[in-house]
């Protein structure tokens, strides 16, 4: 029993390791930059600069769950979808809504193709998506004729780049909407949590202890409020944050609460056992790869809006940033484990590293070295802690 308790402490430690590391890194940069890291404008930039990582990583996680497989083609899909959309909106002056639908469909079509090849024809994911990476990049250059298309129409930019308006403008330096939404969200969270508890005790199921519940809830509430007040001191809540939060919430829900999520974990944990349990494993692979390409199309729009253009190198290395975020966030390189929560932590850590080092004026090449080292350390940690538990 004693041994098991020690093991569970170790488990808990490895579970929260990256969260602790992220907090430490934030503290480090806050001190090293003399507090500049947490300036409202920088917090805002952190979101705007890294939105693409969060979105693609959410899709990438599903692929990684199925067995440590990755999708290398997403960066090129971002570029191709962007090229198609920009051509429609700018060159052909077609309506924005039509361009958006076509862009999403294009991403989905690529995903369906790659997913079909991987799941049903059994082309190894690495090779299939490597081929995609080359093909879609090449095609996007054909569509763009090697040139950059800009600027994007104003209404399109507003879909991603604007801010939720202030309710009472020109009163204080504070954006009251953001504060109010923060308070509302905190309230909703608490109500949800306590209704869940009540439901459990009503059905005779067990609840975690009230103190534990309160502590985690309070930490969450504090985080939300801190974040919202930070944003309130700048321009308020960026619309992009709403997009990212919605996507993460949806995928967090899918992976943790639905049978399709369960199937993803099961396939990565033991494909044969999953098949013998009556689950269609091919469908699971198909879903993962079709989905990540769809999210790449969403990312394409975010990228176009941020750069205010579609250019032949857009999306370069996006797959690597997403893969890095997943692994730093504790996804297993062998599949079967990893969470959206982990992805959020991984992407945040990467973002903070980028931002912090940029503020400090660290040379861009050294930034790459540091990011690579962090990724390596995270995976070594994952592998070693797994080996110990065997």
């Amino acid at each position: 029993m004693q041994v098991k308790r020690v093991a569970s402490i170790k488990d808990a430690l490895s579970q929260y390791m990256m969260m602790i590391a992220t907090v430490l890194v934030i503290l480090f940069f806050t001190i090293a930059t003399g507090g500049k890291l947490l300036y409202p404008q920088n917090v805002n930039n952190l979101i705007a600069q890294n939105a693409y990582v969060f979105v693609i990583a959410a899709g990438m996680l599903l692929c990684i769950l199925t067995g440590g497989n990755i999708d290398l083609s997403v960066g090129s899909i971002v570029c191709l979808v962007g090229a198609i959309g920009a051509t429609m909106m700018v060159k052909q002056s077609l309506p924005i809504w039509l361009a958006i639908i076509v862009m999403l469909l294009a991403g989905l079509a690529i995903g369906v193709l790659q997913g079909y090849l991987i799941a049903y024809i059994k082309v190894p994911p690495f090779i299939c998506t490597l081929a995609g990476m080359l093909m879609w990049r090449g095609l996007s250059n054909v569509v763009l004729e090697g040139l950059t298309i800009s600027p994007m129409p104003e209404p399109f930019l507003n879909l991603f780049n604007s801010y939720v308006p202030d309710m009472i403008p020109q009163t204080t330096g504070l954006n009251e909407t953001a504060v109010l939404i923060g308070v509302l969200m905190s309230g909703l969270l608490l109500v949800y949590k306590f209704r869940e508890r009540a439901g459990r005790s009503k059905k005779g199921y067990e609840n975690v202890s009230l103190t534990k519940e309160l502590i985690t809830d309070l930490i969450l509430v504090a985080l939300i409020l801190f974040f919202m007040i930070e944003l309130a001191q700048y321009k308020g809540i960026p619309v992009i944050l709403i997009w990212v939060a919605a996507i993460l919430a949806i995928y967090g829900y899918i992976t943790s609460k639905t049978t399709i999520g369960r199937h993803l974990y099961a396939v990565g944990g033991n494909q044969k056992a999953t098949k013998l349990s009556g689950i269609n494993t091919k469908k699971v692979f198909f879903f993962a790869y079709a989905n990540v390409a769809f999210l790449a199309a969403v990312t394409a729009m975010i990228t176009m809006a941020r750069l205010n253009s579609a250019n032949p190198t857009a999306g370069t290395n996006y797959e690597m940033d997403a893969i890095g975020a997943c692994f730093i966030g504790g996804a297993s390189a062998y599949g079967g484990s990893g969470t959206i929560g982990g992805v959020i932590i991984g992407a945040t850590l990467m973002g903070v590293l980028n931002l912090g080092m940029s503020i400090m004026g660290v040379d861009a090449n050294w930034q790459k070295v540091v990011k690579g080292a962090v990724l390596l350390a995270a995976v070594i940690f994952d592998v070693v802690s797994k080996k110990k538990s065997e």
Partner: protein, 512 residues
């Protein structure tokens, strides 16, 4: 003694929770063929793994005296340098490499950075000639049959200058002719002074070639029989292998049980190997099980029992599967595991780690995996609270010992893992349960608990098909026993009055 090549003295090997070998003594004379026999799990392979250094010196107690010296092998390389070469049941050949490349894998000829391929292939050809294999050393391993591959393994052993050759079930995947040829080869090597240890389940082969027979049972040496001195008839050997008492190892059968109609009936079932598609793995098999009945499927490893059951369970094994399947009298076609589960069939695999459980997941997740529908709503959202509740229910009912249902199953003992696997399939609510080696690798106490669960299942009117290589278990738990060998049903017995000797004889004499 002067002519003893090898003496293993007082060997004891303990695995976590199990004593695999208990004070085993084993003596091999120079120039003999020594057979090591015993039931599955008697400790034969463990003993040979100690001898060949797979379990290094220090991980066991006792001494290995070889050529008059105490040996302390730290690895398989050490034992091979002394001329002890083991050939495992699963051949260790790389299919995509040539015979010559395989033969010198790890001991390449020439320089490390400049392999001498001419020497490699010349030597390979020479050793191939010695084992009487008429193939070019440039042939790829995947292009020759299993019998020839076995000969390549022996040639490879000769290339390592083997003085003591250990063969673990060398004929288990060979046909009659190839087996006989292999044994004759060993006999001819014997005249040239090569000593061999052969592990085999096939009693007739042992009495054909062995000079001495050592019988292991439950990790202990039972006896050694010498040709010419002792009786080494088939019956005598079988008696030595299985001769343990059968008292109260099985719970009482449920009283006044009613056997119902035929719940599952399989007729003329045939399936072929998924890769070697011309190899019949299951050949025209027919059997049935009634409601409330336990049938046992006995046979040796490789008899095709698992393949039969998996092919029935939604064609999970084999190609070109033919045959008729009736569930409660209705003909059905089960093409996927999902369809099999929907027809209230469950297959509890023999390989709980490979095919059964998701080791890196919780007890809860494993319990619900085959029946997620019943804990999720129409939008496929899982009711996590209900899932935990159900898992706790099974943990209590099956007395699964785990600190919490949120525990990952890789931390549980084998017996408890087996119970989680059973829980998973019981939760799928089947009428007919196929239990493949349900007590493999678990201790006696856990076995008894599994037997109790089986009795509970049949008293609820469910049917159980139990595949098992442990004859006492088959006899102790079944109502009827089917015996399979080499893909065919070779006999059917009522459990009352069935004996282990009787079953073994049916298997041995089924070969045509």
């Amino acid at each position: 003694m002067a002519n003893d090549l090898l003496e293993m003295k007082h060997i004891t090997k303990v695995f976590p929770g199990v004593k695999a070998l208990d004070d085993v003594n084993f003596i091999v004379k120079q120039g003999e063929i020594h057979a090591l026999v015993g039931e599955n799990g008697a400790g034969k392979s463990t003993l040979m793994n100690i001898l060949s250094g797979i379990y290094p010196y220090g991980s066991y107690q006792g001494d290995i005296i070889y050529q008059g010296e105490v040996q302390k092998f730290a690895s398989i390389r050490d034992s091979e340098s002394k001329g002890i070469v083991i050939i495992h049941q699963e051949l260790a050949l790389v299919p995509e490499m040539t015979i010559g490349e395989n033969m010198f894998l790890g001991v390449e000829r020439g320089h490390r950075f400049n392999i001498d391929w001419d020497e490699t292939y010349a030597l390979a050809a020479e050793y191939l000639r010695q084992v009487g294999l008429n193939e070019s050393p440039h042939t790829l391993i995947k292009d020759i049959g299993t019998g020839k591959q076995q000969l390549v393994e022996i040639a490879k052993a000769l290339a390592k200058k083997a003085r003591l050759l250990i063969l673990d079930e060398p004929t288990s995947s060979l046909n009659e002719d190839d087996s006989r040829a292999l044994l004759d080869l060993l006999l001819s090597f014997k005249t040239q002074g090569l000593t061999s240890i052969i592990i085999s389940h096939k009693i007739s082969e042992i009495s054909y070639c062995a000079d001495t027979i050592t019988i292991l049972r439950d990790g202990a040496t039972i006896e050694s029989l010498s040709k010419g001195k002792d009786d080494i008839s088939d019956n005598r050997i079988i008696q030595g292998m299985v001769g343990r008492k059968l008292t109260d190892r099985f719970p009482k059968r449920p009283a006044n049980r009613q056997l119902g109609d035929k719940a599952l009936e399989v007729s003329h079932w045939t399936t072929y190997h998924p890769v070697y598609t011309d190899k019949k793995v299951v050949d025209d098999v027919s059997f049935y099980v009634r409601s409330g009945e336990v049938i046992g499927i006995a046979g040796l490893m490789g008899a095709g029992r698992t393949e039969l059951m998996m092919s029935i369970f939604g064609h999970s094994y084999g190609t070109a599967t033919k045959g008729e399947l009736k569930i409660h009298g209705q003909p059905v076609a089960l093409n996927t595991p999902r369809e099999a589960i929907e027809h209230k069939l469950a297959y509890v695999t023999e390989d709980r780690k490979g095919n059964g459980l998701i080791l890196s997941n919780e007890v809860t997740v494993n319990t619900s995996l085959a029946n997620l529908k019943s804990i999720s709503n129409r939008l496929n959202v899982i009711d996590r609270d209900k899932e935990i509740h159900i898992a706790k229910d099974y943990v209590r009912k099956l007395e699964i010992k785990c600190p919490s249902v949120l525990q990952n199953v890789d931390h549980l003992s084998g017996g408890n893992q087996q119970k989680v696997l059973l829980a998973k399939w019981m939760f799928a609510d089947p009428d007919i349960l196929i239990l493949d080696e349900p007590t493999r690798g678990i201790d006696v106490g856990a076995k008894y608990e599994i037997y109790t669960i089986i009795n509970d299942l049949i008293s609820q009117g469910k049917s159980v098909i139990m595949v098992s290589s442990e004859l006492p278990e088959v006899i102790g738990m079944s109502d009827r026993i089917y015996i399979m060998n080499e893909g065919r049903m070779v006999g059917e017995l009522a459990a009352a009055g069935a004996t282990q000797e009787g079953i073994m004889n049916l298997i041995q004499h089924s070969k045509v």
